[in-house]
Amino acid sequence: MTDPQLPQACILPEGESPTPVLPRGLRRVPRGVDELATEHLIVNMGPQHPSTHGVLHILLELDGEEIIAAEASLGYLHRGIEKLAEHRRYNAVGTLLDRADYVSGIHTELAFAQATEQLMGIEVPPKALWLRSMFSEIVRITSHLVAIGTYGLDIGAMAPFLYIMRDREALLKVLESVTGARMMFNYVRPGGVLADLTPEAEPLLRQFLKTFPGYLDEYHTLLTGNEIFQARVKGIGVIDRATAIAFGMSGPPLRASGLGWDVRKERPYAAYDQLRFDVPVGADGDCWDRYFVRMEEMRISAELIEQCLDGMPEGEVSAKVPKVLKPPAGEAYSAVESPRGEVGIHVVSDGTDTPYRMHLKGPSLMNLAVVDEVMPGHKIADSVAIIGSLDIVLGEIDR
């Protein structure tokens, strides 16, 4: 007889006994780890995560290292810009819109100013149009610099970030001297712009334009030529043209997928019909192409700034507009090309001094929606590369 306290075999063949007799002190059969069975794991990435560019919260369903499904959970920055605009006068809405896309506030301002001008039929003086174009391009460079620098940071390259902050400060100095603010400019107003170039702004800009090609070469050395960076982004997150169109993408991600749609070319606004520029287009639609399109756009933007400085007409910087704007009842849509894509403002007016309804079409929301489609099949480390390459700003996604 064996000791009933110590059974001969604690691992019984299946089906023999529903409750196997266990040695005292054990609660379950020590089967070890079955290394073949994997459980799907839900990982919350964000809302506080250094690589999600703000307060993005992505739910990732993982099978080991591989992403099975991804879903963006938004709303951590939902602060009612569309609702509050219905309670602000037309002149004050720009303050809210600056903070919608806070990396490139001037573009959202510009879209709203253009929509208001369409409603009221205001003729904007040519100098204001040229200043609008010029400052759009300055802000485009600062925004792309941030996109590239933080992208390097996401991938693991620390140094480019320090270089871009140096160069961004040079442009912020120009912006500050003209608009009075480093980030929230409120510079473009319905009817024109706030102020002319200050005397110190032009030499600063000329100096920047002289040094910027050298700076760009530095970034190319640091990132483009970096083998680790190439291995992390080439062939990752491929968005083909059909997917990009189906998800309504715009801006550099759309152009990287091979469709050269640029609002500046197709629906010229401000002074873009008088400027000469190319639109860089990618071929494969992977992270590398999206990165490279941005690098090229910075070079082109610098050329555009130079063209604006050289060709700046003389005259007023703003049309004569009443202090309180009361557009007639109607609707207007105006789009501009922001660094992230097409920013559109749809304004509905009922004849009072506040918009009846203002809708901001943010490009980031559409560009972000594609992660559900693109991420599955990639490794978890690639999710950071994909999000960074889309260059989203949560302010305009959540509004």
Binding site: L77, K83, L84, R99, L162, M165
Partner: protein, 166 residues
Amino acid sequence: MALDRFLGENSVIFTTTEALFDKARANSLWYLSYGIACCAFEGLMSAGGPKYDYDRFGIFHRGSPRQADVMIVAGTVNKKMAHALRKLYDQMPEPKWVIAMGACACTGGPFREYPNVVLGVDNVVPVDVYVPGCPPRPESMQYGFMQLQDKIRNRRKEMAREQRSA
């Protein structure tokens, strides 16, 4: 030792360990990189950049709340974010401090009228330093950090004074 430069060679100072630790804490404020909105650029990214370089003051960013001493609330906190904010604050080890950066974190800012926005982050976590501005310049943020350093250095003195008066 560096103390000799200020107090003469082989000098002795009498202090409590907590006061000594506070002096050390004030000079290595590691902040949680938790940028919510626009202010993150001025407060967190410029902080790491070469022009403002808060690293000079021992102020450096950390990705995890478990390694951080200071939380900079840089942006509008809404009701959905308030839960995450509180969770992050609870994960930070004691002693910990909070800087409310910008108009939104102080009072709700330009978005205060929207029902989804929390009227000031002090409704969610205790705040030590308020930095006004929309957004504050990086210099304002530096000044805010210097105020916080003063507060930490004089923490024991303040507590002792409160005990005496009570």
